[in-house]
């Protein structure tokens, strides 16, 4: 019997090994985009974002209802109708960029010698919108949904372009919005400023109480797009695709 004394410990070791193996397999399968695979802090961030969105939507519904009532009651009252139209157009102008805007915000300056790619500019703009920016300009060019941030190259080097015009350094990006939120959106750990620092680019951030954003130069003309009128007036005909 003495010969088999190692059997018990070895069995035990194999059982433990088996458990670890299966655990290992499980943890490998647990990484994905499903909610149950996310870290607690990310889930908290999502809750925060959604709560904020719900609050803003509630305000929007109040606004729209007021607007609807006012429109209904001002039938044939020309000045009231004009007032409504102007307030509507002002709201739209935030998206089309067709008016001059004033407000507080953040100025980001990227100096001459910093290694910046067009995708970094896109990233900064993207993060600023996410942080609640209401308007953005890059070197005094107002950004709207149709703005094109890209690059072009000649024999010597590559240039960043905004609406097909070469972007000159220093690049000054201005954003209207709550200055602290805008700054936080860029400087949060692992955020765009951290990423740029890895490439030895250190944009300078500066809060400002009064910024003026010029309007876009010209409204584009639409060639391919036209308003879609659903055959039946039901929302179900729209190709909405949400998870």
């Amino acid at each position: 019997m003495r010969k088999y004394r190692w059997q018990a410990p070895l069995t035990l070791v194999f059982i433990v090994l088996g458990i670890f193996l299966s655990l290992q397999y499980q943890s490998q399968n647990l990484i994905g985009s499903d909610l149950s695979m996310q870290r607690t802090e990310n889930l908290i961030a999502m809750v925060r974002g959604l709560s904020e969105k719900r609050q803003k939507l509630a305000l929007e519904i109040v606004d729209l209802n007021m607007h609807f009532n006012s429109q209904q009651n001002s039938y044939l009252d020309e000045s009231k109708l004009a007032e409504n139209l102007i307030s509507d157009m002002n709201k739209m102008s935030f998206l089309t960029g067709s008016t001059t805007l004033n407000g507080a915000g953040l100025i980001i300056t990227i100096g001459q010698s910093m290694p910046i790619l067009y995708i970094d500019i896109i990233d900064i703009v993207n993060e600023l919108w996410a942080a609640g920016a209401e308007a953005i300009t890059i070197n005094e060019v107002r950004i709207n949904g149709q703005s094109v941030i890209f690059y072009t190259e000649d024999d010597y080097s590559m240039y960043i372009t905004i609406n097909n015009t070469r972007l000159e350094f220093p690049v000054v990006i201005k954003a209207l919005g709550e200055p602290n939120n805008l700054e936080k959106g860029l400087t949060l750990p692992g955020g765009i400023i951290d990423t740029l620092a890895l490439f030895k680019a250190y944009p300078i951030l500066e809060k400002s109480n009064s910024l003026t954003m010029p309007p876009v130069f010209n409204q584009p003309s639409h060639i391919f797009l036209s308003e879609y009128k659903p055959p039946e007036q039901t929302a179900a005909t729209e190709p909405a695709k949400t998870p």
Binding site: V16, S33, L50, L57, E60, S93, H222
Partner: protein, 237 residues
Amino acid sequence: MRKWIVPLTIVCLITGFLLAFQLKALTDASSVNPMSQKNNNLISIIQNLEQEITGQENQVEKIRQELDTLQQNQQAPGKLNEMQEQLRDMRLWAGLTPVVGNGVIITVDDNKEGLKAKPNDDPNRYIVHYEHILSLVSELKRGGAEAISVNGQRLITTSEIRCVGNVILVNTTRIAPPFEIRAIGSPHNLAEMVTNGELEVMKATNYPISFQAENEVIIPAYKGELQFDLSQVAKED
């Protein structure tokens, strides 16, 4: 008598190695614990909020439509009529109107096959990241896209495309793979930009992709909020 020492040492070594590996996998996905009660609570909060937001968005869409119809029906006199036309045009560009036209439909999905084949590889190399979508969208804009949507979320000026963890958000709305990007514009120009760019890169790294030019691409209106209260429209003189 000491015959068992060698096999046991080997087994212990293997166990130790696996233990260390296990620990590493755990720190990689630190605090990812799907069984955690706290996470489950957070997930149900998220799902409730999402449901509520969908209701709100439908309401917003409905009132906007009614308002639009009302404005059209109120036969406004001369100058007001002109302003109304202008407003309709602005809405079209801003993304508040559902639109239709020539364009393309791109779909990209996680490389599930690739991950299955190499389960020990970093899964981040197989899932679609927000950077992929952001690049595709930028290229579509460069190709002259007049309207773009991602999984039914219309992109407007202030839309952001980003991620929290591995979840991609557009207009703060969670979207899941497969991702469908629709764009209206010249199919030829749009195709030229993406197929020489990000889409080609994704194809080369074995992501399942598809690209289709279509005559009638329908893109829904933006259904979210438009609360701009921090800045003021400058008075025109």
